[in-house]
């Protein structure tokens, strides 16, 4: 029982990472109706920018803010330059563009900053939280920021006009145009926001997993898994899903003997897929009844 509790807690603390990423994933999904495979790389790149600023002596919070702004602009730029020209292409072509983007960003990061592992500071320090050795103050801070961000996003999407317009533009672009919404601006805005959120996720995650160009690969995947598990339309579900994935991953690694570290990822995915077979909308997704 002791071991179980320990592993669950450990799962929650790694889950905070995935929850953050999952939130960014759902965010962009709400904005553009696509899963962005390059999201992790964009987050990683933003984190490197922050790191570079801090190396040059810029204080942490200023670097944080500048990175957010730069990421936002970067996200909008990518949408305008890379995606707008092919907006009418089939979905699979878009998927390929995401793959290409991933390749470009990953390669550029490696080229500019090389592949050696770097440490990234945490604004929360790393002392044990509440005296427990399993959760540090940084991880507590991660959870807090993730939840705070979640609240902000919820308020934004539910109670502001822009949020409503963005949701409409993503869900039904044709009808959105008919009510006068400038759909392509909304898409660009969505990209900017998702990019900024990804940057926050990256800057929170880097102190734990250390900064290097390939740091986000498995995290993005766990983030996807968490988002899908929670239900792609529910930011709250995504966060919960992220935590759940962390717990599942840890428990699978501990209790299933054949699994070494390498199979943790596929096992976690399998568990999620099994859940989806029984609950196709994810645990908290809304099921839409459609009339044929």
């Amino acid at each position: 029982m002791e071991l179980l509790t320990q592993q669950v807690l450990a799962g929650i603390s790694t889950g905070a990472i995935y929850a953050c990423m999952a939130l960014a994933v759902v965010m962009i999904y709400q904005a553009i109706d696509h899963l962005n495979f390059a999201q992790g790389e964009m987050a990683m790149f933003s984190t490197f920018i922050a790191w570079q600023l801090i190396e040059k002596g810029v204080p942490y919070w200023l670097a944080f803010l500048i990175t957010l702004v730069v990421s936002f602009i970067g996200g909008v730029a990518i949408e305008r330059i890379v995606f707008k020209p092919i907006e009418h292409a089939p979905v699979l072509s878009h998927v390929v563009i995401f793959i290409a983007l991933y390749s470009v960003i990953n390669s550029m990061a490696g080229f500019i900053w090389d592949f050696t592992v770097k440490s990234f500071p945490s604004p929360f320090g790393s002392s044990p939280l509440f005296g427990s050795t399993l959760i540090s103050s940084h991880q507590g801070g991660m959870v807090a920021v993730t939840l705070g961000l979640l609240l902000l996003l919820y308020l934004f999407f539910s109670y502001t006009s822009v949020g409503l317009a963005m949701r409409a533009a993503a869900a039904n672009p044709a009808s959105a145009r008919l009510v006068g919404i400038r759909v392509s601006w909304m898409t660009a805005l969505g990209w900017g926001m998702a990019s900024a959120i990804g940057a926050i996720a990256g800057m929170l995650i880097a102190p734990v997993v250390f900064l290097e160009p390939n740091m986000m690969i498995s995290i993005l995947l766990y983030g996807f898994a968490g988002a899908v598990l929670g239900g792609l339309t529910s930011p709250g579900g995504a966060v919960l899903g992220g935590f759940a994935v962390g717990i599942i991953e840890n428990l699978a690694g501990t209790y299933i003997p054949v699994i070494g570290a390498e199979l943790k990822l596929p096992i976690a995915l399998v568990v999620i897929v099994v859940v989806l077979v029984f609950k196709p909308a994810g645990l908290f997704g809304r099921v839409v009844v459609s009339r044929v």
């Binding site: 409409a168 869900a171 039904n172 145009r177 008919l178 759909v183 809304r286 839409v288 009339r291």
Partner: protein, 237 residues
């Protein structure tokens, strides 16, 4: 006074296929005009052309200014509310959100809540379902919702594409009564595309008959309704 909408020599094409071959028609402010014709005559295309949704040529003058080539959202922002075929409901959003979306480009935010209440007065059934997902509404309710949403724009012109489609006859009657009232009381100008000629002619002032992309007959609705050929081909008697 300038007509609200004046269309001259309108052509439209889907890819290589020409669908409209030079239409001329107009609409007075406060009037109801109907475009009649069989399936495939080009009625929907005409509405879509007005809203910049299909490649077109010619002239579309809205309040005297040419809007051909403007994007759909810009045309909407000029005050043209288009209720498309299939109603275009935001199915994942609630009824209330659909209404809010109708008004999303309006500057006078303070009046929006009042207008929503007015819509609920017009359509009590929508008020009952205000927090329900729009996709769960019946066909008739979704049609009411789409009209309400269009009205939320406080439009200068409403374009309705096949409003009777898929609705039970009693509901259709109810809806056309509402449209008549709206035109009479709120002076809402409407361009209605309909396959159900009898209904449309009952509410319209002017009528145009479309056949394979060209206007073959035009005139006051009563006159068109009385015409032998129209009666035989489109009114069934």
């Amino acid at each position: 006074m300038t007509k609200l909408l004046e269309v001259k020599g309108l052509t439209a094409a889907y890819g290589q296929v020409r669908v409209l071959h030079g239409l001329d028609f107009s609409l007075e402010e406060g009037g109801v005009t109907t475009l009649l014709g069989a399936n495939g005559a080009g009625k929907t295309t005409t509405l879509r052309a007005i809203c910049g949704m299909v490649k077109s040529g010619g002239e579309i003058l809205f309040e005297g200014k040419n809007i051909l080539g403007k994007s759909t959202e810009d045309v909407a922002r000029l005050g043209v509310a288009h209720i498309p075929e299939g109603r275009g409901t935001f199915t994942r959003m609630t009824v209330e959100e659909n209404l809010q979306l109708g008004a999303i480009t309006r500057r006078d935010k303070q009046n929006i809540a009042k207008d929503i209440d007015k819509m609920y007065d017009h359509f009590p059934r929508l008020k009952q379902r205000r927090t329900q997902q729009a996709g769960t509404l019946s066909g008739g309710e979704q049609q009411m919702l789409s009209i309400a949403r269009a009205l939320m724009l406080r439009p200068r012109l409403m374009l309705l594409d096949e409003p009777s489609f898929g609705l039970a006859p009693m509901l259709v009657r109810e809806m056309f009564d509402i449209l008549t009232a709206l035109n009479r009381d709120e002076k809402a100008s409407m361009l209605i595309v309909e396959q159900n000629a009898a209904l449309a002619l009952g509410i319209a002032d002017e009528a145009y008959l479309l056949e394979t992309g060209s206007i073959v007959m035009s005139g006051p609705a009563k006159q068109i309704g009385a015409d032998e050929n129209v009666r035989r081909s489109y009114l069934g008697y």
